[in-house]
């Protein structure tokens, strides 16, 4: 049994190094870290996997067997999912809400030729909604290319 033939399992990670500290309830993958789950891929300098603590586990519903609470990627973060691509300094993915939050200097989401940028971008993976927030010194900026809409229609 090797990592390659378990490719379709829920979370696949590669990195240069990994550190797990029991008392801190997270596992850190550092150095060219790549996390893949079905179609979603995150590249970053470091990816931390946060595990539910015993107390948090008790609050979860019985049917939820998920051990992973949150995935935090930092440093040169790239997130790709099918035709969507995002860039940020930091990305936080919460498994219970399926929400991916991008922050940093100028997080940006690109779909085809269109893009949107701001201070904070929230992607709701469950319904595809995207919320972009501005900051004191960072207004929301967006470019929508009609060609992308036509392409999406042809694609559907």
């Amino acid at each position: 049994q090797t990592a390659d033939n378990l490719q379709d399992r829920s979370l696949h990670i590669t990195a240069d190094a990994m550190t797990s500290e029991r008392d801190s309830s997270f596992v850190a993958f550092t150095g060219n870290a790549v996390a893949t789950s079905q179609d979603d891929v995150i590249h970053a300098d470091a990816i931390k996997i946060f595990i539910y603590t015993e107390d948090e586990r008790k609050k979860l519903s019985k049917t939820d067997e998920q051990n992973i609470k949150e995935i935090i990627a930092t440093g040169n973060v790239t997130f790709t999912s099918q035709d969507q691509k995002a860039f940020a300094d930091k990305a936080v993915y919460t498994t219970s809400t399926l929400v991916l939050t991008l922050t940093g200097d100028a997080p940006r989401v690109i779909t085809g030729e269109s893009f949107v940028t701001g201070k904070k971008i929230t992607l709701f993976r469950s319904n595809g909604k995207v919320v972009v927030e501005s900051g004191k010194d960072q207004r929301v900026e967006a470019l929508f290319n009609p060609a992308d809409k036509k392409k999406n229609k042809e694609g559907e």
Binding site: Q1, T2, A3, L6, Q7, R9, S10, L11, H12, I13, T14, A15, D16, A17, M18, T19, S20, E21, R22, D23, S25, V27, F29, I49, I51, E65, Q66, N67, I68
Partner: protein
């Protein structure tokens, strides 16, 4: 006139003769075996000049502050005279963790430093803990630093997940595990990183 020998004297003579013949017979047998069998040839004796002692079925227990840390069993152990080392085969070790759990280790070869209690295991090293299994070709236990480490490829797996890397170090006091080099893992949602790391002691 011929003197008649009375009965007690006759019995004594017969006993003396019997004793004489018995002694002669045993002596003859001894000399015959000595002369005809030729020099005694000792065949296939290998003298291991380095070994002080060769044990079969060795068992050892290590305790720290009167708490049992580990027990060790081996089908054979050769104590090396000057090196304070015991070379073992078919090794099975049980480490006892702080929270009363056990980590089981087995390997084809083992080397125990009888002075420092450091240990090295090689060839088909398998460590099991809860439902997790670690496999590698070499694994070392440094008693002073209380760490387990391997400088060759290791894999840690359970039924649905697997984690591989070039090297590993587990600090048994700090409950920390570090993997380095080509870290690759595939995890099911239920994989518990900490139990999987065996650093629950």
């Amino acid at each position: 006139m011929k003197r008649k020998i009375n009965t007690p004297k006759r019995v004594r003579i017969v006993l003396v003769l019997l004793l004489f013949f018995l002694t002669a017979g045993i002596g003859g047998l001894y000399y015959k075996q000595r002369f005809f069998s030729g020099d005694l040839v000792l065949k296939k004796i290998s003298v291991d000049s380095k070994a002080t002692l060769l044990l079969n079925k060795m068992h050892q227990t290590s305790t720290r502050n009167s708490i049992k840390e580990w027990t060790l069993d081996a089908s054979s152990a050769k104590l090396l005279k000057d090196e304070n080392k015991a070379q073992m085969t078919d090794v099975r070790v049980v480490f006892f963790t702080d929270n009363a759990k056990e980590i089981h280790l087995s390997s084809t070869n083992g080397l125990l430093d009888t002075k420092t209690h450091d240990m090295s295991f090689s060839d088909n090293v398998v460590v099991t803990y809860d439902q997790y299994t670690l496999k590698t070709a070499e694994l070392h236990y440094d008693k002073k630093r209380h760490i387990l480490y391997s400088n060759v490829h290791i894999s840690i797996m359970d039924k649905e997940s697997i984690l591989e890397a070039d090297t590993m170090e587990t600090d048994l006091d700090k409950n920390t595990t570090r993997l380095r080099g080509n870290v690759k893992g595939t995890f099911s949602e239920t994989f518990n990183f900490f139990n999987g790391m065996g650093s629950d002691s």
